[in-house]
C-alpha cells in the first residue's frame, strides 16, 4: 500500500526539505515505521510513549486518525496522509 505523506515545515529536516514523501503500510503505525526507515528520526517526533504526540495531528484523507483508531487507523493505496502541528483558532 503506497500513500503520500505531507510533511509540515517543522519536520522537513528529516526529509531533506521535501514537503511530501511516499510511504508504505496498511496502518498508520506501519506508515510511520516506513517513514522512519527512510527518514531517520521522524518517528521520535511523531510518537511518544506509544501514542501520537499531543501536539501532532495526523489526517488520512482529511479525517483525524484519533477518531479512526489512532496509530492503528487503516490506510489504503493512494490515501493522502497529512501531518500538522496543533494550532489554536478563534
Amino acid at each position: 500500500m503506497a500513500v503520500t505523506v505531507s510533511i509540515p515545515t517543522i519536520l522537513r529536516t528529516h526529509t531533506g526539505g521535501e514537503k511530501s514523501v511516499d510511504a508504505k503500510g496498511g496502518t498508520l503505525a506501519e506508515v510511520i515505521d516506513d517513514l522512519e526507515a527512510n527518514h531517520g528520526g521522524i518517528k521520535g517526533r511523531l510518537v511518544k510513549d506509544g501514542n501520537l504526540h499531543r501536539f501532532v495531528n495526523v489526517y488520512v484523507n482529511d479525517e483525524d486518525v484519533r477518531f479512526a483508531g489512532g496509530l492503528e487507523a487503516t490506510v489504503a493505496d493512494g490515501d493522502n496522509v497529512t501531518i500538522l502541528p496543533a494550532v489554536a483558532g478563534g
Partner: protein, 316 residues
C-alpha cells in the same frame, strides 16, 4: 416577542434553516444554524457575553476594568461591543494576518489592538496575551481557550435551541477553534441523545501559520474534550472557499469562510449517511456572514486565485 431592552439581550434564539437543495436526499437532510444573526454578527457573541457575565458574577470584573483577550477577530468584536455597553476597556491580541474588516471593526468599537506576528497564527496571539497578562495584573483576561463559560454558553444556549427546534437531530458539525462550540453543544446533545455524532471542521492554513519553532509550541485549548467528539476533519482554504460559494449559490446563504469548511465536513458526514443507507438530520453552524471577508477576494474570480489570495491569512 422580539422586543429587547438592550442589544445584549438580543443574543441567541437564532434560526435553524432547512437546506433542501444542498441536502443529498429527502432522508439525509442538512440544516444551518444561522449564528450570524447574533448582535455583532457571529457565534462568538454567545461565549463573549457569557464570559463577561460570569466574571462579573464572581467579582473578577468590576466597573472600569480593562479586558484582555487573544483573538483572531470575532471574539474580539463581540467583547468590544459588550465592553462598550458595559463600560470596560478592551485590549485584543490579534495575529496580524487577519482580515482588514476585523481590524477596522475592532478599532471602530474602540478596542486597542496589539498585533502578534503572522508566523505561528493564533498560537502566538495566545502566548503574547499570556505575557501581557503577567505584566498587567489589573487587566482581566477572560481567555476563551480555557474559560469554561465559553463552553457553558453553548451547553445552555446553542445546544438546547438545536434539540428543541429539531428533536430528530443526528449529527452536529461546527468549527474547531477554541473548541467551545463543539464541546458545549456536543456535551449537551450527547447527554440528551447519546447517539448524536459530533463532528469538528478544523481550518487547514498555509504553511506560515504552522511555522512553529518546535512541536512543543503546539497548542491544544484547555477546553478541548476529545471524548465529546466523534470525528474531525481538516479542511484547506480551497475546499472552504468552494463550499462557501456553494452554500450561497444553492441556498442563498452568504457566509464567512470558516462556514465553508464546516459545510465541507457536513457534506462528507451526510455522504457517509447516504452510503450507509441511514436517515440523518445534520445540523451545522453558520459561524458568521461573509461581510468581514469581502476584502480577501473570497467571493470573486476563480477558486484557485481566491485560495491563493487567502494563503497565509487566518480565516476562522
Amino acid at each position: 416577542m422580539a422586543r429587547y431592552s438592550s442589544l445584549l439581550e438580543a443574543l441567541g434564539e437564532t434560526p435553524l434553516i432547512g437546506l433542501p437543495r444542498l441536502s443529498p436526499s429527502e432522508d439525509v437532510r442538512l440544516w444551518a444554524k444561522l449564528e450570524d444573526r447574533n448582535p455583532t454578527g457571529s457565534i462568538k457573541d454567545r461565549p463573549a457575553l457569557r464570559m463577561i457575565e460570569e466574571a462579573e458574577a464572581d467579582g473578577r470584573l468590576t466597573a472600569g476594568c480593562t479586558i484582555l483577550e487573544p483573538t483572531s477577530g470575532n471574539t474580539g468584536i463581540s467583547l468590544a461591543m459588550a465592553a462598550k455597553l458595559k463600560g470596560y476597556g478592551l485590549v485584543c491580541v490579534m495575529p496580524e494576518n487577519t482580515s482588514e474588516e476585523r481590524k477596522q471593526l475592532l478599532a471602530a468599537y474602540g478596542a486597542r489592538i496589539v498585533y502578534s506576528p503572522a508566523e505561528g497564527g493564533s498560537n502566538e496571539a495566545v502566548r503574547r496575551a499570556k505575557e501581557l497578562a503577567k505584566d498587567h495584573d489589573d487587566w482581566v483576561m477572560l481567555y476563551q481557550y480555557g474559560n469554561p463559560a465559553n463552553a457553558r454558553a453553548h451547553y445552555s444556549g446553542t445546544g438546547p435551541e438545536i434539540l428543541r427546534d429539531l428533536p430528530s437531530v443526528t449529527h452536529f458539525v461546527a468549527g474547531l477553534g477554541t473548541t467551545g462550540t463543539l464541546v458545549g453543544v456536543g456535551r449537551y446533545l450527547r447527554e440528551q441523545k447519546p447517539e448524536v455524532q459530533v463532528i469538528a471542521a478544523e481550518p487547514r492554513y498555509g504553511e506560515l501559520v504552522y511555522g512553529l519553532r518546535n512541536l512543543d509550541e503546539g497548542f491544544v485549548p484547555e477546553l478541548y474534550d476529545p471524548d465529546v467528539l466523534t470525528g474531525r476533519y481538516s479542511v484547506g482554504s480551497y475546499d472552504a472557499l468552494r463550499r462557501t460559494r456553494q452554500l450561497l449559490e444553492t441556498e442563498g446563504i452568504f457566509a464567512g469562510i470558516s462556514t465553508g469548511a464546516i459545510v465541507h465536513a457536513a457534506l462528507a458526514t451526510a455522504d457517509k449517511a447516504v452510503r450507509a443507507g441511514k436517515p440523518a438530520d445534520v445540523v451545522f453552524v453558520v459561524a458568521d456572514g461573509g461581510w468581514k471577508y469581502l476584502s480577501t477576494g473570497a467571493y470573486s474570480g476563480t477558486l484557485d486565485d481566491a485560495a491563493e489570495r487567502l494563503d497565509g491569512h487566518l480565516w476562522a
